[in-house]
Symmetry: none
Subunit: 339 residues, 2 copies
């Protein structure tokens, strides 16, 4: 038998070709029973729509998908994602697209969601965030039939897929250089989740830039929660030598400020603090927090625009977004005189 | 790997596509053993009937919709919505539903989105937040053809639709009572967006409970942004008589703490602060903030459950969620001795 046509299915089902077309294209006009029968026969005969036919029939979902593999309770104080989502939405709304958002407990659940969305044709494309080293999710977006995707992260982590990224290493180097310029010689880094690729890249830049300047470093791995940020801060302050601390998020830096106050350590006189991702809370704190500032909403909008290009057939490519810029406020000064 | 087809399952199971179709559709014609094997393989491969097919079979989209009519830049520090969304997601994921999220600049854009979603059958139901006094959105959810909706807010604001609400008036009264018990006689209130119904209800409770206790009150309307919260705090502190301030959000309270520090006003010795909606940042601040604490994720989950009941045909009703509870921490003490 040659290529299976709608007429073949109609003949077998004993219905009109129009009814078959309605059933296969998910349009109203046929009963549930007829639809089921048509789909069963189509499957049995091995019918496959051509991709041209598929795009002609208007099988676009006008929806893009985003999965956040974070524990629900950690999302409430993450200024990053809500701003990022708002930026994505600013582009989607221009095109009448919606955002299908799923919070998943872990990366396995995230992958199940992608499979489900693809199988059920729920979305036209995917924004994938928090790429890891050797990320198992990337395989789902390779191959001719895969969903178009944009990875939000460094090209070295994106497996050849389209990526939009910030140069976190350059931002971290500028921060270490700034602290060295103030005269700090022993600096701490409170990191985000170690499995995330950008945590890794920032950590490498922190270590290499500090080593090049013969600075002493102390690293404490945390997980973006305020509690972990506060605990890591107490731990670094207890060393007695660290005079400046860089945080991988603003929420952890705010928690570090609280922990320092509580321990009777003055900010910035005794210890300087630098936040990453600059939310309005960094400016509302006292002292106001010096931060690696980045327009996160604009980053989200950039990602969305690249995804539309990818969905329109553009080949994969990497795009650098603006590099987070050090905004100096009241939480960083030269170190106290050596005791 | 591309879209999983019935043929893929048949190949893996070593049976005909017809047998797979029978098994997946719960029809006779295959043995129980084959049926089990097919279902196991389908689950393993992540097979899903397409949403187009499903939407014909029962006109379900397996999606619910949420529009946030907030300026994108205000979402980043709002712990409430991300936690609320995470709570909704916890219920949706159990039922394989997705959340279609739209950020709209204003209430008119929000209403256009609802109309579009209904016309295009994009969602099975709606969660409507931030009801206002005489809210024009409610009309869209009345009538036989309207989408099922749950209003997140007081029954007095929900126009007879299903509502899930917290008793904000009771929570505010408990807070004023607590401050009176500490000996405060002049208290301030930094409110959220005045147009929101819950701002109105909290404001009324604040005024009436303080009046009943012959307390002096000062109210400053803000809009949930840290900047507005800080400005309102400076303004209240400049009066010279206010010894305690209640905020309508945690972000504004944190900004108030920063503003007090900056002005050289000690918290809590000179002024006591109370936050609303208790994020981890309230515990990470120094002093830790006393707050009207509410499990926002659980609130979101409750709303989602009621929406499923409504979509299943339950008549409209109002459901009270747990009342925000005053959690006393380090930011509230008796007022300083009269000068």
């Amino acid at each position: 038998m040659g290529r299976i046509t709608i007429a073949d299915i109609a003949r077998r089902a004993g219905v009109s070709t129009a009814a078959v077309s309605y059933a296969l294209n998910g349009r109203p006009g046929v009963s549930a029973a007829t639809r089921e029968q048509v789909l069963a026969i189509a499957a049995e005969l091995g019918w496959e729509p051509s991709s041209a036919a598929r795009s002609l029939s208007g099988s676009h979902t006008e929806t893009i998908g985003l999965v956040l593999a974070r524990a629900p309770e950690t999302l409430g104080f993450e200024s990053f994602y809500m701003q990022f989502v708002a930026g994505i939405e600013s582009v989607l709304s221009e095109r009448d697209y919606g955002l299908l958002l799923q919070v998943a407990p872990d990366i396995d659940a995230e992958m199940r969601t992608y499979r489900k969305w693809r199988a059920a044709r729920r979305v036209d494309g995917i924004v994938m965030v928090d790429p890891r080293v050797s990320d198992p999710r990337l395989d789902l977006f390779l191959g001719a039939d895969a969903l178009p995707a944009v990875v939000v992260g460094d090209p070295s982590l994106s497996g050849g897929l389209t990526s939009v990224y910030t140069d976190d290493a350059a931002a971290m180097r500028s921060c270490v250089e700034y602290l060295a310029g103030l005269g700090h010689t022993a600096i701490g880094h409170v990191t985000g989740t170690p499995e995330f690729g950008h945590t890794h890249l920032r950590g490498e830049a922190f270590a290499s830039e500090a080593a090049a300047r013969s600075m002493t470093t102390a690293v404490r791995h945390a997980d973006f929660t305020p509690d972990a940020g506060a605990a890591a801060t107490r731990d670094l302050l207890a060393r007695g030598d660290v005079t400046a601390i860089v945080y991988d998020s603003d929420a952890m830096a705010l928690a570090g400020l609280g922990a320092a106050h509580e321990a009777g350590v003055r900010v910035p006189a005794d210890v300087s603090l630098v936040a990453w991702d600059d939310s309005p809370l960094c400016r509302a704190a006292y002292p106001q927090l010096t931060a690696l500032s980045h327009d996160v909403a604009s980053y989200g909008a950039h990602v969305a625009r690249r995804l539309f290009e990818r969905m329109a057939g553009e080949p994969p490519a990497s795009y650098r977004d603006s590099t987070p810029e050090l905004v100096v406020r009241g939480s960083t000064v030269p170190p106290p005189p050596a005791r």
